[in-house]
Symmetry: C3
Subunit: 505 residues, 3 copies
């Protein structure tokens, strides 16, 4: 080079151009990133809508599974699990579950954002002082989960639970019992959580994972334990403390067939809607548009487990000497769905089918066991949700693959893990027993918490004398005795039924 | 610098590179913009599907709420509101509503794109001469809205309206009455519209807003007024001109309980489906992928109002001395949903809950008022849709926040406003009374138009003697007398019902 | 220029900057492309969920359309079409349909990816040795299609088909009959396929189309032929080989009204759900986020055909001297939907309405013809799916526009076509008869294959004596005789029905 001036001129021109280029690139990256962010919100909203629609599925499944005389009672419970649940979740449920970010992280319970309050009403979450679209969408998604957890209980306590007792227990579950489990398992502070932020990382954007337990923490992707064991555990306690429906068990210990669902069509439609909604429950639990490829795998594992659960339960039912009935197929599908909810993102398709296969036995066996123990869980909520939920959590310890747990591109758990201890995976693949151990701890902790607090609650309601309706009201049916009359007006149905006449007495 | 040649060489190189860079950036920006545009279409399509699915919700809600003997009649009306409505909306409804862009803007009614005709069949809307994907998706979304508006009426006139009269009134509503209101309130030319384009801006892409009324125009985001008051107002006129069902009111002025819905399960499922569909109705009314963060907030306000409406109405019902029944909870949810439909995008979560709370009183009070006036609105379509719709529009005047109305990043109304008069917002926040005044004008205008034209229409049908079925047919039921027999064949249901036998006469 | 050194210095600086620029651009293009890829997966997943939900629609439509005494039987069939179908589709169905990419392309049947096995469990499809998100999402979408095809049959053979026979035929259809047709029509190797890859193009990403037949191959966009004719053809054969229900046809050849559906509400809800699901079926068959504009047009054509089909069938029914009944309107909607499924992407809106109009006549006429032939297709599955499916395929030959078939921006078929013979389009537009000829070949081939193999299958089942239940069981009803009792427990419904009492005998 012969002159510094030339060099300087060139350098300046290049420097100017580079600055322009960098600015433009940053702008483009921002635009691309913004689309990804909008995609995240879209994804969460769609998931929230689908999981919310599961309320209709639960309502139909439960309405079809009880006597016609208790139909309106169970419908009203499901309606209020969404409505009252929404109010409670807004006020205290979400804050206890996800209200984190305070100065001192709390591994047990959250404590911020009551009534969604974040300081301002603008939408710019960059400093955490205002709700973002992602915050609102996440609230929606979690509200739908909370309503699902709460509504599981109504199936177990159906046909004899006092309406006032229902209002109290569903409020306590949505306000406290369930949020605490969510905080444990899914928040950035929880003692079980796989997403626990490293100490000192206070921005949600930047944190790296540093779980308390093992390399990965408790892996319960979409809530076999956190949602289904919680709802199912409370359901089990409710059924126990209420005692069986009058006449449910004969003097000789056998089960009476006096009580059966009044409409199989409602049950089937309910399960189809639940299955549909589960595609919001599981795949959308990826929570990010960028994990869409993983969500597709989750949809597949969810499907195969549901299919295997349904087929297997029907086969078990037939093998036990029964005819092919609709009920076992439906509950088998739900057993498979509940079972795959924890492991859906960390297992291969074949393992998903196997998990559904085992879930069928878990459901069928636990259902029989409850009958032997004379526990009257009307909709079999605890066999489906509690016992299959536990199996789902444990199955992670056996079938989680190395690549899905520990490879950021393929898995939901590996990203940004920062504790240098991320080698755990399923025992079946030679990953050792540590993850299984963590899963056992999680299952026992959730079971102890949810059954303990629920037992206390139902014991209190029982002592207060408000838990169960009178034998007369039970006999009459809750709709006539408590809700203003039957869900059905059959007279006009009869009168118009062409070839049939019914004599009014 | 010592030589011009060097400088020129450098400049040329830089210039070439800059040109390449600019070309590439434009290309990348185009790719990013294209994704946003595809996202817009996806968003509108999903919304259209969800709002279309509300037809099933209306059908079930209405079927469950009438006598069994009129079930097929109400089903057929709902089916045709989608089918016949689709044909009419294609031919003239959409053109009257959104067929704008002509040489002389029309503030009252549109007049282009009949049968979707835009000149060519290719898909390139850049010069407006061909339908774009966004045009098609928008048509879908608006068709679903039109079907919803039309189908609201069938609930009010149920159990006694002649089928021929139904065909005529639903055609007129979908073809003319509703499209005119849409043109007023949502088109780029309407006299009420918040989205009225500035004179001279003829390309939809580029226009800036210059509403006739106040700084913002009439704010009715997703149609508390435009959809629900229109449907509900026509419903009210229909109920008035038809007169009450035979025996509905006793001689002493009290209400008979002779008429009641025949299936609460259908009603509950209907409301769950409607609630689900409302997440297409409200959040997707953002109409743009880029407003997804705002859509999430809309989902939250929609949810809180629905929850508050359901809980509050049930409480009012109990406070009035009744037992907790399913019906009030369901209609309360709908009241909250209708109420929040106008303000959903401009209010804070707490205000949404309050709007739902008030909507419960509006619904309950107007329902009682109609009974006092001996107006027999079978499904309470006008209390839910007309009166709560009006409340929703008015609530904007109280609770719209400054930031959501006037800040382009956070709101749907602020973008590109060009009239230098954008300071109006809710009176509660100190925004003065101008927006409330505009809202009152809008409510009165919609009420006058829809009730006036509907009254004329139903009066004509009544005079022509085709409005109401004969007392005999009403007694027999419309299914047997007009639609080929009952919706149900109960004989086989009975015969198979194990423990029960029915004697055929 | 005075010195080479200066020039070299400048060139090097420019070269470095260009390299940086190119690297950055590639990175940005990659980010943008990745979003598009994630959008593809999202799109397919949403479509899969919606099409899966159609199972609920089929279940309700069929349940409502049979006697109450056969309700659980038909529900169980629909449940198993999803569950058992999922297992079979996973094992062999998908592999036979889409398991391509082997060394020697097979125009008749696929043969890879059994049990989704692709060699590894990681998610990186770049070398085809591992399943990608798109692979998983595509599997989901195709599983839902397979379940739909299989479940069509159950409607035709309802109320008399042995459950064991059902298990066998549904397995054979899902495992073999349907996958072969899919391979023919939609795979990259099929002899009918419009998407047949040019020889030598083995990567799915890069292939250009080189169909065997004509310039475009057989155009059946979303499966009027491939899905509906296959399901409907098997349904027709099942109905023929089973023979009519006892008492269905009177001695004088007239049709008895002894058999009719027991619940019109279920039928209507079923059709609404099917219509909703069809928006997954047709628009999502674009299979790509980038074709969203086209998907919107598909949604419009789907809607207009459904609307026209419903209105027209009701008019035909009335013109034939009947009252306006719900059934014809519902089946007319389905006729329009089935008819538009093949041509939805290549026709203009007006043509879509016309196709639905004609489909109404095809449905109504073929339904009457079957009754004349004393073929008892309970749910009219073959008139709706087989005959209207054939009409849909043929309509492409008449109404496919040049621009939609041959213009890559507007159509699904034009992209990357490489055979220099892409001028075919609809005869109505002067496109000649070649496309119509191809469509006829496709229709005949599918009809021959599906009817031939199904006839063989049902003949075998009949000879083996397992096809039909005993007359006694048919009389009693399948629910009591085979499935453990009625779907309904009416006793409690009665007992609570306030004003009515039923005497137990």
């Amino acid at each position: 080079m012969n002159t510094t001036a030339t060099e300087a001129y060139v350098n300046e021109a290049i420097s100017n151009l580079t600055a322009t280029l960098t600015e433009k690139d940053t702008e483009l990256e921002g635009s691309i990133g913004a689309i990804g962010g909008l995609g995240d919100v879209l994804w969460l909203l769609l998931g929230a809508y689908m999981v919310f629609f599961m309320q209709a599925g639960f309502a139909l499944l439960e309405a079809g599974g009880v006597s016609a005389k208790n139909t309106k009672n169970i419908l009203l419970k499901n309606i209020l699990d969404a409505c009252l649940g929404g109010m409670v979740w807004w006020a205290v449920g979400y804050p206890f579950a996800y209200g984190t970010g305070g100065a001192s992280p709390n591994a047990f319970i959250g404590g911020a954002n009551f009534f969604m309050y974040k300081g301002t009403t603008s939408m710019n979450d960059s400093d955490g002082s205002a709700p973002s679209g992602y915050f609102y969408a996440g609230w929606m998604f979690q509200w739908a989960f909370a309503a699902a957890a709460a509504t599981i209980v109504s199936g177990a306590v159906a046909e004899r639970c006092n309406f006032m007792a229902y209002l109290i227990y569903t409020t306590i579950i949505t306000a406290f019992i369930y949020p605490v489990v969510v905080h444990w398992g899914w928040s950035s502070e929880g003692w079980l959580s796989a997403f626990k932020a490293k100490a000192g990382d206070d921005s949600e954007e930047d944190w790296s994972y540093d779980p308390y337990l093992g390399g990965n923490g408790f892996i319960d992707f979409a809530g076999s334990g956190i949602v289904h064991m919680t709802g199912g555990g409370a359901a089990l306690m409710g059924a126990i403390f209420l005692g069986p429906r009058t006449g449910r068990f004969n003097a000789d210990g056998t089960v009476s067939d006096l009580h059966r669902g009044h409409n199989a069509v409602l049950q089937a439609l309910g399960v189809f809607i639940l299955w549909f909604g589960w595609y919001g429950f599981n795949p959308v639990s990826t929570l990010a548009f960028s994990m869409m490829d993983i969500a597709a795998r989750v949809a597949v594992t969810t499907t195969l487990s549901a299919c295997a659960g349904g087929c297997t339960t029907l086969l078990i039912h037939i093998a036990c000497g029964n005819v092919p009935d609709v009920g076992p197929a439906l509950n088998g599908i739900l057993a498979g769905l509940v079972g795959i909810t924890a492991p859906c993102v960390v297992v291969e398709p074949w393992a998903a089918a196997f998990i559904g296969f085992v879930a069928a036995f878990v459901y069928y066996g636990s259902s029989k066991m409850l009958l032997k123990l004379k526990i009257d869980d009307v909709l079999e909520a605890s066999p489906v949700h509690f016992f299959c939920g536990a199996w789902g959590c444990l199955s992670v310890g056996f079938f989680a693959t190395d690549i899905y747990v520990n490879n950021g591109v393929n898995g939901a758990y590996a990203a940004d893990k920062d504790n240098g201890d991320s080698g755990n995976y399923g025992a079946f693949y030679g990953g050792g027993g540590e993850q299984l151990g963590t899963q056992i701890v999680g299952v026992l902790a959730i079971a102890a918490w949810t059954c303990g607090t629920s037992a206390l609650m139902f014991f209190g309601l029982s002592k207060a004398g408000v838990l169960r309706v009178s034998p007369e009201d039970e006999q009459t049916g809750l709709d006539d005795s408590h809700h203003g009359g039957s869900a059905y007006d059959m007279q006009t149905m009869q009168a118009n039924s062409g070839t049939v006449k019914v004599e009014a007495v």
